[in-house]
């Protein structure tokens, strides 16, 4: 298919635009896509999470770790640092509630958290690796350590 703009090159950029039910289709070559300034890396405009109305009351308060004003967060849609969540707790509350509801964090089950291998287990893995690599001196040391640990248990 030829580019619908220059009618010369092969079209490689296919772009469909829906604006309020109005559909426009483009088939362009790379040069024309550039000329038309189609930014295909950002297909959707991003909504501002924090709304666009000015909040003058909070303007003077600054986060002392990253230096953000609430207005910086509002404009960029990005929180400046972990401390901002406590400095701007009230200001962020509404946004967080509108994304997640008013729920609180649920920790993962303890079982998952303590799923770390025991010391003996990890030593055994090291021992296997040592034997595979023919490091027999290291393996002997590891073997004794495991014996000692298991003796205690």
């Amino acid at each position: 298919m030829k580019c619908t703009r220059c009618n010369k090159n092969e079209a490689t950029v296919f772009y469909k635009q829906y604006i309020n039910g109005d559909v426009k289709e483009y088939a362009l070559c790379a040069d024309c896509a550039k000329a038309e300034e189609l930014d295909i890396s950002i297909p959707f405009a991003h909504l501002n999470l924090f709304g666009t109305s000015k909040v003058p009351v909070y303007e003077k308060k600054r986060c002392d770790l990253c230096g953000s004003l609430f207005d910086d967060i509002r404009k960029s849609g990005k929180v400046g640092c972990g401390k901002c969540y406590s400095v701007f707790e009230n200001e962020l509350k509404q946004t967080i509630a509108s994304i997640h509801g008013t729920s609180l964090h649920q920790k993962r089950d303890l079982q998952a958290e303590t799923k770390k291998p025991s010391e003996a287990e990890s030593l055994r893995a090291e021992l296997k690796a040592a034997i595979d690599n023919e490091e027999y001196e290291k393996a002997a040391v590891l073997r004794d350590k495991i014996k000692e640990l298991e003796g205690k248990a």
Partner: protein, 318 residues
């Protein structure tokens, strides 16, 4: 054993983490970024392979995007940043959050991904001071990720659903269940390849295990619908569908020029039939994307050259 490869291309579990007392990456300076990279490198130990992203060419970085190893933003960022890799575990350091820990596996491997991610996460949590609050969970640059800061995504191949016009209904049902579905390279990136990414939306107020369960259940349901739709399609399509698929195989094997759009459509037809080794076909899919092709041939190729190189590459590797 690789599971459900007919409908699931790959599974991914991702955690976002930030170090306490450092600004997030939108307010971080170069020195801060370097310090963070060093801390994480020390915490991970020497089993992880480090790639300094500032010393990698943009074209190589973009080929990693095409292989779903890193994000587009990470490839293009100006900050010092690093990628740490150990088998299927990959950590982007100084992406949107200080740490994006992800585990990607072929086929449907949700439990394996989750347990590998937990293992690495536990290591990070035990060695680093990670930003966390009792009420909000893990703190992230974008408030949409607060809580578990976990995203589970499953890359699904659903030509049966797409070709029988069931996609629209599926999208709206998933939306009601709090599940996001989008094109394979993120928002708005639909192609003729019938590949869609299914992921959880909820992160705050829900346990990780519950999210895993929910995604598992939904993926299995979609797999079931897809298999039925595909059977139906083959039954109804008869010789004309068989002909279309055979022609697609012919084109892949003998054409001299194949554009990426055409490749996506051929891929969908051939993969649906299960004619080739699916795993090989999927890796071919990533390797014939524009940047990956240029990387393979070690030179910049224009579009026409790429289409020729693509056809050549396919015929050598299929």
């Amino acid at each position: 054993m690789i599971k459900d490869l007919d409908t699931v291309i790959s599974t991914r579990v991702r955690f976002a983490r930030n170090l306490k007392d450092y600004p997030y990456t939108n307010r971080l300076d170069e020195n801060g970024a370097k310090e963070i990279i060093e801390r994480i490198e020390n915490a991970l130990g020497d089993k992880y392979i480090k790639t300094d992203m500032t010393s990698v060419s943009l074209s190589h970085a973009m080929s990693l995007v095409e292989k779903h190893i890193i994000s587009r933003e990470f490839a293009k960022s100006n900050l010092p940043r690093a990628l740490f890799t150990k088998d299927d575990v990959k950590l982007m350091v100084c992406e949107e959050d200080h740490i994006r820990l992800q585990v990607i596996k072929i086929g449907f491997a949700i439990d394996e991904c989750f347990s590998d991610a937990l293992e690495c996460d536990n290591k990070l949590l035990s060695k680093l001071n990670i930003d966390y609050s009792e009420a909000l969970g893990y703190l992230t640059q974008c408030p949409t990720n607060l809580g578990t800061a976990m995203r589970v995504s499953v890359m699904m191949f659903i030509p049966g659903i797409c070709l029988s016009s069931k996609l629209k209904a599926l999208v709206s049902q998933l939306d009601k269940l709090g599940i996001t579905i989008r094109g394979m390279y993120g928002e708005g990136s639909e192609s003729g390849a019938c590949i869609y990414q299914i992921s959880n939306r909820e992160t705050l107020g829900v346990k990780e295990e519950k999210v895993i369960e929910k995604i598992r259940d939904i993926v299995l349901q979609i797999t079931d619908i897809e298999r039925k739709a595909r059977n139906e399609l083959f039954k109804k399509g008869g010789i004309s569908l068989e002909d279309k698929i055979s022609r697609a195989m012919g084109t892949l094997n003998y054409a001299k020029c194949i554009s990426s759009k055409e490749f996506c459509e051929l891929y969908a037809l051939v993969r649906m039939k299960g004619e080739y080794d699916l795993e090989k076909l999927d890796s071919l899919f990533c390797n014939v994307m524009p940047y990956s092709l240029c990387e393979h041939y070690e030179k910049t190729l224009n579009e026409t050259q790429r289409d020729i190189a693509r056809a050549e590459y396919i015929q050598k590797n299929i």
